[in-house]
Amino acid sequence: MSTQAISIENVKTGEVTEAVYEHPLVVRICHWVNAVSLFVMVGSGLQIFRAFPSFGAKIPQKDLINWPKAFAIGGWLGGALQWHLTFMWIYLATGLVYVGYQLFSGNYKQVLFAPRDLPGVWPMVRHYFFFGPKPPVTEAYNSLQKHAYTSAIGLGVLSVLTGFAVWKPVQFSWLAWMMGGFHLARLWHFLIMWAILAFLFGHLVMVVLHGWNNFVSMLTGWKEDPEYLSK
């Protein structure tokens, strides 16, 4: 599945290692821009939420949680809305460029979850969470990874759709209607944020566990010594 692989020879020792160009430039740019956007969207979103930290009635108002200001962006509702309504376009554009690029380049084949990946999910879950044996690594993304990254894209789409329903419940009344109206769309938007944060948590744990070479591959595109090439 790998698009481009090379052998690297250390002239001094004569040692040869393999490297694969796993992450094309567009993917890497989208990844890091999105990391910034997501940070801003979550931070400003939580400041917006502080203005009415409830999903019930306004009268009487029962606050769900008093979200600390330190974990919010924008300082006040108006400031947070400026951040949110600015970065939502960057977030949306990045998503469109990413998905468009994946489809056009065919790069999606290495990461899109397909029915044939289904049998591989459970062995990976067993390995990560229940001390099961490690399944053989045969490609850049294992079944569980494909599942996670494909789900993350799905969550991204849902975050945009629920966001549009909250932002424009009249012009996109059909969207709001599908979500049970403006009131519930706001709740979905909030829950999807937490789902994305849950993905992000797992993602970061995996980044730490998989070490430096793996992390660098999202910067340079090249993964040195990928496990699936080792004989």
């Binding site: 692989a5 090379i6 052998s7 690297i8 020879e9 250390n10 002239v11 040869v16 393999e18 490297a19 430039l25 890497r28 740019i29 890091w32 821009v33 910034v36 801003v40 917006i48 939420f49 203005a51 009415f52 409830s54 009635a57 306004k58 009268i59 108002q61 509702l77 108006g78 400031g79 809305l81 400026q82 951040w83 309504l85 600015t86 970065f87 939502m88 376009w89 960057i90 424009k168 419940p169 009249v170 012009q171 009344s173 709001a176 209607w177 403006f182 009131h183 706001r186 660098v216 910067l219 340079t220 595109g221 090249w222």
Partner: protein, 239 residues
């Protein structure tokens, strides 16, 4: 087979690939204090521009059954300073000015001679809460016709008895659900809900729907957008 290169060349290739990511540093401009404000202003401006494009003059806001109404006692009252600016109802008039053929002071009785419309629509606050209310009044578009307003003008501005002020794009002013509202839940407006006359605009967020109206002006130029907008809220905020 794979091509084979030496390590130094690979490091060079890797470094070049890393440097290709530098455009992302541009996002750092949002962290520069001097640039942050204009950038966010531009972002909000773009959002408002898109909002204007997304607005469809003939598209109606969803309406609801009487059984969906939020009880009147649970319809929130949001003011920026006082619940009751002490309007003298006997002497109250709506002063109309600007690009209109018949400027002057209009009494509530005069306004009420226009056809009355009632609607159960959702009132959405910028804070995030929403209620479904019953509103009654005359179409702003009918009133604008009465006063001979130039509907090619870009804006309509209003002044309120409590010094609150707002502005509205003409397309929204002419929307059939945009009301000069003098009734809620079949009763004359109470003081805290904006008596004797307020705006009810189901296609706009709450802060656009000014209460205790005293002045209305049709104009192409606005110096001030609105009480909250001038502090940084969205100028269009159409729902």
């Amino acid at each position: 087979m794979n091509s084979r290169i030496d390590e130094r060349k690979f490091r060079r290739i890797s470094r070049r690939e890393l440097l290709k990511l530098t455009p992302i540093v541009a996002l750092g401009a949002f962290a520069v204090p001097a640039l942050q404000k204009p950038l966010l202003k531009a972002g909000l401006g773009f959002s408002d521009w898109a909002s204007g494009k997304l607005f469809r003059p003939g598209h109606l806001a969803p309406t609801f059954a009487d059984s969906d109404l939020t009880p009147f006692s649970k319809f929130p009252i949001n003011d920026y300073d006082v619940d009751d600016p002490g309007v003298d109802f006997d002497r109250w008039t709506l002063t109309v000015a600007g690009a209109v053929q018949k400027p002057g002071d209009y009494t509530l009785a005069h306004i009420q001679t226009l056809p009355k419309f009632t609607q159960n629509t959702r009132h959405v606050c910028v804070e995030g809460w929403d209620v479904i209310g019953n509103f009654g009044g005359v179409r702003l578009s009918d009133f604008l016709k009465t006063v001979g307003a130039d509907t090619t003008a870009r804006f309509l501005t209003v002044q309120c008895a409590d010094d609150y002020y707002e502005s509205l794009d003409m397309a929204t002013a002419l929307h059939p659900q945009t009301l000069l509202c003098y009734e809620m839940y079949g009763q004359p407006l109470t003081r805290e809900h904006g008596a004797p006359l307020r705006l009810n605009i189901p296609t706009k967020v709450g802060y656009k729907q000014a209460k205790y109206l005293t002045d209305l002006k049709v104009t192409n130029v606005i110096e001030r957008v609105g009480y909250w907008e001038d502090q940084g809220y969205s100028e269009f905020y159409g729902l």
